[in-house]
Symmetry: C2
Subunit: 644 residues, 2 copies
């Protein structure tokens, strides 16, 4: 056995023993050391770098490690084997997550405006914003030697009278605090009540003069990113918001890798801990701190996530999701409360899960479809959610069809060497001078903000511009030379957006051929899915009357450029609308409005699911779409004219 020492950037560390030949990434995972490995240890993504600081390690150089880096000791842990005692420095991905937390969805004025517009659309569709939670003042006679009813019966009688219901149930937590609250308040209290028909359930009891705050938590659990809102359940006001990386990322960038991980011994618990203990609970605590709330004041939660995320969140085996005949444990469930999952809010908070409709079309899409309001319109609409899985819904008030394709995390800046979310410092838009090849870009954040990385909308612009300027070929290879174009020792080209002197980064901000390749595959997946789904219905892209684009790609998305690179079909640009994080806004609606919750169930029941992998020709379509803009240029008539 050899000693393996993992050191962290904060100076702490952990020590374990490993056998000769053991894989370093596996050793780290067993020791609960978080190493970023979105490709799940296949030497594909290059993110699992560690720095050898002592001892020996058997690890070859790869294209992900420059000569300079290799000389400094950087190694990919997934291809490193233990041959002696060794000490490595592990870059802190947890702090990377934390640093992202300061920025949330709905943080910008644009996003808030989009959100308010969505809310208005839903209201216009006849959905009322009301729910079953309320605060009811309850006054009781004080007990005496002649009036000896125990506290719980006294409260039940008083709530029956106050609410005009015939059946009242007290939650356990009410029982636990009842004696103290009643006596402190001279039997004048207010109750947090869920009223349903002739029944009422008392969730909490507070002294009359204490501020009763009834909150709800809406969460979009994305494969890559988690976004959350705490709202006031009485008026729908947003009290706090936060986003964070999904802590499961170190077990794989996509759902398939995570399902494989959860299948291993103890894996289900590990994946559930990663999303709940490591991601959600810290988000909840941070939001509560910032808004001056107690987590116990969150009496309800609504989760929107894809089918795999929902299963991993609930600690339910997700393996059948990926194995034919692709039967998950649940589409809908009402069996779960917060304490079952160890979520640090009111223990018996009901957890609403936006329903899944298939293995690869989940609650993020049903909730997002609610937000898109395509179910309320006569026009033929296409709803596109650009997540790690790309999902599409096409239809109108008469019918809806959905499908999913695996796009990877590129739209959210994942799998891109300088990728990031659309937050402060992200290059969100770009124009390149075709002569000088010099870029001009717009950066998210205050004036003077230096670039940190590139978000999804920025990548679209850059690729579109590189292509327009003839800097890259339709295959995404560099075909011009210049100051900003570089080739490494493996021959891989890249375009430098900002040299490190001009950036808030320790290295140059560039887009490499690998990045471009990753992105082209992502956009190809989306475009081919659109083609195949419409084709299965004998529709043509020209029949699309509206396109609603959702996801973390950023509100800066340039629809023209998205068409230019062959990501979206070549139709009138006025038809495109960016609707923000529709999964989160849908979760918000379901949380805040009982009618919205029912509507999503209704939408889910009426949506058909198309399994793309069963469609003949999908693979051919995908390969044809992995080109700029497409191997069949005729599909992009407006481009032909432009570049003619």
């Amino acid at each position: 056995m050899y000693k393996v020492i993992f050191k962290f950037e904060d100076g702490t560390g952990t020590e374990v023993f490993a056998a000769l030949g053991e894989n370093l990434l596996e050793v780290a995972r067993k020791a609960n050391v978080a190493i970023d490995a979105p490709c799940s240890g296949n030497a594909a993504c290059g993110k699992c770098k560690v720095k050898l600081t002592g001892g020996e390690l058997d690890s070859r150089q790869t294209r992900h490690i420059t000569d300079e880096e290799y000389a400094q000791g950087w190694r990919l842990s997934c291809i490193s084997r233990i041959t002696a005692d060794v000490e490595v420095l592990v870059p802190d991905i947890a702090s990377a997550y934390r640093s992202r937390m300061k920025v949330a969805d709905l943080d910008s004025a644009e996003e808030l405006q989009i959100f308010e517009k969505t809310k208005a659309d839903i209201a216009d569709a006849g959905i009322s914003f009301r729910n079953d939670l309320e605060v009811v003042p309850v006054l009781m006679e004080e007990p005496s030697l002649d009036n000896t009813m125990p506290d719980n019966e006294r409260l039940v009688w008083a709530v029956e009278a106050a609410c005009g219901v015939s059946e009242v149930k007290l939650q356990f937590s009410v029982l636990q605090k009842l004696a103290e609250v009643l006596r402190k308040s001279s039997f004048r209290v207010q109750c947090v009540v869920s009223r349903q028909g002739d029944r009422a359930e008392v969730l909490d009891v507070l002294p009359e003069d204490e501020k009763a705050q009834v909150c709800g938590l809406a969460v979009d659990i994305g494969t890559t990113t988690v976004s959350a809102l705490i709202i006031d359940m009485t008026d729908g006001a947003i009290l706090a918001k936060a986003s964070s990386g999904n802590g499961q990322i170190r077990y794989g960038a996509d759902v398939i890798n995570r399902i494989i991980e959860q299948q291993k011994e103890g894996g289900r618990k590990k994946l559930q801990d990663a999303i709940i203990s490591e991601t959600l609970n810290p988000l909840i605590h941070a939001m509560c701190r910032s808004a001056g709330l107690r987590p116990q004041q969150i009496y309800r939660m609504c989760v929107a996530g894809n089918t795999t995320m929902n299963h991993l969140f609930a600690g339910v085996d997700a393996d059948p999701v990926r194995m034919e005949p692709f039967i998950p444990t649940f589409f809908e469930t009402d069996s779960i409360c917060a304490q079952d999952l160890g979520i640090h809010i009111y223990p018996r908070a009901r957890i609403i899960m936006a329903p899944n409709i298939g293995s690869y079309v989940g609650g993020d899409i049903t909730a997002g479809t609610l937000a898109s309001t395509i179910w309320n319109r006569e026009e033929m609409s296409l709803f596109i959610d650009l997540g790690t899985n790309g999902e599409l819904v096409f239809g109108n008030s008469e019918f809806m069809m959905s499908c999913a394709c695996s796009a990877g995390p590129a739209f959210e800046g994942g799998d891109i060497s300088c990728g990031m979310r659309a937050t402060d410092g992200a290059i969100e838009a770009c124009v390149i001078d075709s002569e000088t090849m010099e870029p001009m870009f717009r950066i998210v954040g205050d004036e003077g903000q230096k670039p940190v990385g590139i978000c999804g909308s920025g990548i679209i612009d850059i690729i579109s511009e590189l292509f327009r300027c003839g800097i890259i070929s339709p295959k995404g290879k560099f075909i011009r030379e210049g100051k900003r174009i570089r080739h490494d020792s493996y021959g891989m080209g890249s375009y430098v957006l900002a040299f490190k002197e001009d950036a808030a980064s320790v290295k140059d901000i560039e887009l490499t051929e690998v990045d471009i390749d990753n992105f082209i595959r992502a956009k190809g997946a989306i475009f081919s899915a659109i083609r195949v789904m419409l084709g299965s219905l004998d529709f043509d892209v020209s029949m699309i009357e509206r396109v609603l684009v959702a996801g973390g790609i950023g509100s800066g998305i340039n629809m023209r450029n998205a068409v230019n690179i062959g990501m979206f079909p070549d139709i009138e640009l006025e038809k495109f609308t960016y609707i923000g994080n529709s999964s989160l806004s849908g979760a918000y609606m379901m949380l805040y409005s009982n009618e919205a919750e029912a509507k999503v169930a209704d939408v889910a029941h009426n949506m058909t699911y198309l399994e793309l992998s069963n469609e003949p020709g999908y693979m051919d379509e995908f390969v044809a779409a992995c080109f700029l803009p497409h191997t069949d240029a005729a599909l992009f008539p407006s481009l032909e004219m432009k570049f003619a």
Copy 2:
């Protein structure tokens, strides 16, 4: 600050710091060191002895510590103050509890016979032994690409069909294991179901070929002793049984001291941990091990305990129980499931609590009243539960009145220097030769068993015999001299039952004047309560047609001697019956039979409660009864004849 080292008999220890003058018992409690202190630190019981093994301690000698013991270093921790660094040895009360665990209620043939008789009486009263839990075979079609219903819907449909119900709810734990169980068993399973009318709730799902065991847990939570049974919910068979001391004992011997303790900072949690983590969970694990069961197979629990025990068990403030107007949080509650309290059984197991009817008449009595079947008889019956609180119920099928008195733990061998429960080695019966004053006794256990201590029934016999032989006065003071009669340096007399050479004990087995005094107060409390309650109804003891005696005093109880010492009224001995631990047998019935559960609620609603402390003359009656047999000899005519 001084260093205080607590050493334990197993060689481990713990070290804390304390300030000059701090009380050693308090220091121990803060450090979570368990020191037996039934009198809650009032220097009354003498049980909190520790042995000074190093350093210094300011602590005087008391009557509880002999010269020899004091010289050896024994001190009462409750009157010891920190004046320097100190090291003490703490006797292991946890192991004392553990050693008791081998012996359970219903362990002897006599007790089992009594239990079976109780069961037969309940059946005769028309209560059917049926409950809503059952195991249902459920067969499903296997999913395919053409049959893509998710697992949970598939199961719900199949259970609806199998049970003929229209609403089926799955518990969360079912959802969590569903995918695996269905696939392992080719969709041929059995479900543990609770069926109520047109609704069914699925608690568990198992492969078709696995043995489905549906168990229940019945627990009597006594102030001093906890007894438990695991039963098969399908046929009522007892699968395991165990008893243990109530871990709360170190916070006080009676309910009042415990309520005071729970009132302190963190006290509620501490008292709840003492009963659940330290007492119940170990009992459950031990029983499951012995019976080859998994704790998760216990799908329901029924608890019978007094009102304070119920509140402390639920982690609910018990203070109002002891403060006028004596209003507890609950009499009945259906809000609690196992996971709320951290009980290691099926997490959502429903916890049935035998209802309380007043602050001092709790679920142990309503459950015990069910077992007594006095509610089904025309004869006027008196039900007496001899616990740490003594409780009485008087009545018949027309009416029932109850009251409670504080007897202390003497009936279970508590507060008695050589006291113990009626288990192996306990002197359970005794005759004393009036000439030689030599004792002859019967010992619980196999032939050749040497005496270990004295149980409640033994104490009754010894006091009765000492009195009959003129060895003690009506006040319980020694008035004859002899080889077996001793006086310590404080003048306190005692009678030696067995010298240590003849005993399985490190010291002589004796009964002291303090013990006799404690027992006389206990029996005086019972007798005066009987008199006052009957008096309040204008009844006379001669009108009692049956007396049912319950409690841990042991099946060896000699009713003649109990009358002789003035504990029970002087009526015909044939009227007395010992019915064992009626709280536990009542809990068993409530667990196993839905009708029995409903009957107890009915009994509770129809029972009036008499608060003895409000009755004029109760205190005088009590003082008059603290005599052998009583200050008013006319109340014991049969004794007058006998001793004449």
